[in-house]
Amino acid sequence: MAEVVFCARGVSKVYRVGEIEVHALRDVDLDLYRSEFVVLLGPSGSGKSTLLNILGGLDVPTSGRVSFLGHDLGVDDERALTAFRREHVGFVFQFYNLIPSLTARENVALVTEIAPHPLDPAEALARVGLSDRVDHFPAQLSGGEQQRVAIARAIAKRPDVLLCDEPTGALDFETGVRVLEVLERTNRELGTTTAVITHNAAIAGMADRVIRMRSGRVAEVQRNERRRPPAELIW
């Protein structure tokens, strides 16, 4: 068995929205292993994003423990969490979240400048097949291209884990497949532990493991015999 990268035990998260308490996560136990490709599957509101945010150090659980490579994230303060994100985590968001005022290369450089052992921004962009678009601004790129810039930005720091929140959610089928191919290749070639959140069940086929969530709980964990290449996926 590979090394455990993330270990979550009894993690719960409660939000207060106005006068209502929302239980986003209820007593979740979960392990993520080195270099594996995990798909977190579930309908909206099932707690996937909350879980991802907690793993990525963007948010802290209301109760329970999360550790990264044996280090308890719960004891970290804001400064330590920032350092953790800076050194270990790459994020990809559904709406790309590129800085509109920066070119593709500069969006990547934004991250490589503060990471300890980064890739060259041009190389990161080459990896996602955007060598000819490095000096374009987000507004000059298609949605798929923007998402690939976002992936280049996430992998450029050589993260230990890549956390992707609905990376194909805003893309059409063909573009979505291309983005998934980039993620798959990154995982394969760089060995980056990758967790992809989606409500699109078809994507589950490309994972090592599929974790299904419902109402803030882990409903089922399924191991795939074979990772299907994204090109074979259909939705």
């Binding site: 350092a83 994100r85 934004l110």
Partner: protein
């Protein structure tokens, strides 16, 4: 360059309109700080330098007659470093080209030039020569006003004898930076001037050969002025001493010092207002920028930028605007200061005007504005720092619309959809709407403040020269004349009314405070000269007791009912007690008034008069002036119009320069404020408006939604701005309470109208700019990205 810096630069470029607006506002603030500080420092240093180089005296005394031998005794007084004995005499002048008689103050100087106290700086010509008794040096202000040049002659009546004087030099002296005649409030350089004349010629003419009637003293280091005054008074008592006084009672000095202090107050209050506005503007822009860049902030944090890094990033954005504004403001300020300095040069008649723009002044300006910017940016930056990244990733929860007053009253059904949307938008975020309103109200307010000076000066002029002084001509005699003289005046050509008055110079004392003033004895029911309260109400002269200008009462620390000690500074120097009958809120001067009869009783004299206010038929002016010139008793005649001109040339002119620039600055700030409000509204609502366009709304309809909202906010801002502006004017009026004048709190309709006009013009211009952008909204982009 770091990617974050690139983002900074491009963000600033994207926000260039707003960035320029902030920079301009900051520039105005810094420029006012720099200008007024440099102006203040220059004037103060020039004054100090002038006083030192030309040995301006510290203590002054007029007396009747003392032998020159007394000089030794004066020099021996403890605390006295130098003594200057002089002969000073007031004479009637016949100036070529001037219809009415002028008054000359003849001041003796040694025939051979030697360093003296209150020394003369020769602008043109030469010093007088021994053995030529007709030679004089004329004061520059007087010479310029009457277009007199070296070599010109003018007539003077010395003790009843007509004599022709020849101007050989034109000069200035620290004693007469301002030349103001006894009862006048402002310089009238045409009709009053100083002539320096050979003492050997003046002595015999005034029967003061080997004697003197005026002394100036310089204090030894560490000497106490009051002690020296006391000693001098005791020594000179038997020589008819009229009471020694220090610089603060010296009219030119105190007038000048008031002016210099005005600069300092101006340089404190105005920048404070401007920079306050700049900070507020920065606050709005940054707060809204942060709101629109929520997700970008979250991404930066998600990728490991610390809260501090991200906070600094936004702070830098503020600082760039401020820095650019500071540099512009410092340059503008220095340029303006040099211009003002040039004006001071014409105005103050210093031998050398120092233009002293120190690095410290610029540093203060930049530092103060930097601090203001920091204060303005702080809350927005704090919000950036506090923003939890996970929360920022989520879109802001949809705006909370609820049924409100509009629905309950049923108005909703009546109003068109566009108005309903505008209404709900405003009421949905009342705090934000309030902020916009407040911002534009500030714009209105500073415009009012800028124009306020014009109003105040106008009011002062009208108040003084229509309300208080209503005579056409004031005649002043050399010595008190018997009461029947009024009939002689009445008989003069064109005179339809003559109101005699009595004036005596006096020293008022109350407890430890004292002040030299002119004590006016007015006739009961006087029409040509009235005492007016600041609000225009007539204050009657009581039959007994004295009425004091409120400022004078404040200086002395007295109130109605208190008993003052009055030391009359005329022959005999009688000391009496007088009850303060009332306090009048006069706007100009430090005056004390009594009923003429009461003053006569106080002086234990008959009904003598010092002069009279005349109402004159304008057609008879020329004959009247000729007659007055021929009357030996007449020391001089001043016209109200000339006094008004003197007022306009001094007070009004110096404030006018400031006002012009101030109004320009205020207009810039107002336009910046209004433009900002519109641009921010567009950036916040752009997506919503584009969505409406997609749904089939026309450009016009969409514009109405946004601009209608702006129009309502502007309409709300105007009355609020009036109120704030009025309050700020009150602050200014409160600070401008000088000895020579008090700023009245009056704001004219014209000023309110001007403020509204500028704000409306800015609003219209901004609306056009915004409308252009609405026309160019990218409809497709809206459909692609998320709300």
């Amino acid at each position: 360059m770091r990617a974050l810096d690139l983002k900074l630069i491009r963000d600033i470029w994207h926000l260039r309109g707003q960035a320029v607006a902030i920079a301009l506002v900051v520039a105005c603030g810094v420029a006012t700080v720099v200008t007024s500080r440099v102006g203040y420092e220059s004037l103060r240093e020039s004054q100090a330098g002038y006083y030192a180089a030309y040995r301006f005296a510290d203590v002054f005394v007029a007396l009747e007659r003392a032998p020159e031998s007394l000089r030794t005794a004066l020099a021996a007084l403890p605390g006295v470093a130098a003594v200057e004995t002089r002969i000073v005499a007031q004479v009637t002048l016949d100036v070529p080209g001037l219809a009415e008689p002028a008054t000359g103050r003849l001041v003796s100087i040694p025939a051979i030039r030697a360093p003296i106290l209150n020394d003369i700086h020769l602008r043109r010509g030469r010093w007088i020569e021994p053995g030529r008794p007709d030679e004089v040096i004329a004061s520059e202000a007087f010479a310029d006003a009457n277009r007199l040049e070296v070599g010109d002659r003018l007539g003077a009546v010395l003790r009843g004898r007509w004599q022709s004087l020849r101007i050989v030099g034109i000069g200035i002296s620290p004693e007469y930076v301002y030349e103001i005649q006894g009862t006048n409030l402002f310089p009238d350089n045409k009709r009053f001037g100083v002539l320096w004349m050979n003492r050997d010629a003046l002595g015999p003419a005034f029967d003061l050969d080997g004697a003197f009637n005026d002394v100036s003293l310089q204090l030894a280091p560490g000497a106490r002025e009051l002690d020296v005054i006391d000693r001098a008074d005791r020594l000179l008592d038997r020589y008819g001493g009229l009471g020694a006084y220090g610089r603060k009672d010296q009219i030119s000095h105190s007038f000048l010092s008031d002016e210099i202090r005005q600069n300092r107050v101006f340089g404190t209050i105005m920048p404070a207002i401007f920079l306050g506005v700049a900070a507020f503007l920065l606050h709005i822009v940054l707060a809204r920028l942060v709101a629109t860049q929520r997700e970008q902030i979250a991404v930066l944090k998600a990728f490991g930028y610390s809260s501090f890094d991200v906070g600094m990033h936004y702070l830098e954005l503020a600082l760039v605007c401020v820095l650019a504004g500071s540099v512009l403001g410092a340059l503008l300020g220095l340029w303006w200061a040099s211009e003002i300095n040039r004006m001071y040069g014409e105005f103050y008649r210093f031998p050398l005007l120092r233009y002293a723009p120190g690095a410290t002044v610029v540093a203060i300006g930049v530092g103060v504005s930097g601090a203001a910017a920091f204060a303005g940016a702080l809350s927005a930056v704090r919000r950036v720092i506090a923003l939890p990244p996970a929360e920022a990733m989520r879109p802001e929860s949809p705006a909370n619309f609820r049924a409100g007053g509009l629905e309950r009253t049923g108005l909703a059904r009546v109003l068109p959809a566009s108005l309903r949307m505008i209404w709900r938008n405003l009421t949905r975020r009342p705090a934000r709407a309030a902020l916009s309103v407040f911002g534009m109200a500030l714009a209105v307010a500073i415009l009012i403040v800028g124009y306020y000076f014009v109003d105040a000066i106008d009011y002062l002029g009208t108040f003084q020269f229509r309300g208080v002084q209503r005579e056409d001509v004031t005649v002043l005699f050399h010595d008190p004349r018997p009461a029947r003289t009024r009939y002689e005046l009445w008989a003069l050509p064109g005179v339809s009314r003559a109101e005699p008055f009595r004036v005596v110079p006096a020293r008022l004392r109350y407890e430890h405070s004292q002040r030299r003033v002119v004590l006016f004895g007015l006739e009961a029911g006087s029409e040509l000269r009235r005492i007016l309260d600041a609000d225009g109400g007539v204050v009657p002269v009581p039959r007994e007791g004295a009425v004091l200008t409120a400022k004078l009462a404040e200086i002395l620390g007295v109130k109605a009912g208190d008993e003052l000690q009055i030391e009359v500074l005329e022959q005999g120097r009688p000391v009496r007690k007088v009850r303060v009958a009332g306090v009048a809120n006069e706007l100009i001067g430090l005056n004390a008034y009594m009923d003429a009869g009461a003053l006569h009783r106080l002086m234990r004299e008959g009904d003598s008069i010092s002069g009279a206010f005349l109402r004159v038929d304008a057609a008879a002016n020329a004959t009247l002036n000729a007659e007055l010139k021929r009357m030996p008793a007449v020391a001089g005649a001043t016209t109200r119009l000339a006094a008004l001109r003197g007022f306009e040339d001094t007070l009004a002119r110096s404030l006018d320069v400031f006002t012009t620039v101030l109004v320009t600055f205020a207009a810039v700030i107002a336009a910046a404020m209004v433009y900002n409000a519109a641009r921010i509204a567009l950036s916040e609502r752009g997506r919503e408006l584009a969505s409406l366009r997609v749904l089939g709304f026309t450009r016009g309809e969409v514009s109405v939604l946004l601009l209608g909202e702006q129009a309502i906010l502007t309409a709300l801002a105007i009355p609020l701005g009036f109120a704030i502006g009025y309050r700020l004017c009150a602050v200014l009026a409160n600070a401008y309470q000088w000895e020579f004048f008090r700023m009245p709190l009056v704001v004219s309709t014209r000023t309110y109208g001007f403020a509204v006009a500028v704000v409306l013009a800015s609003a219209l211009g901004s609306a056009l700019a915004v409308r252009r952008r609405i026309d160019r909204l990218d409809l497709v982009a809206v459909l692609k990205t998320r709300e």
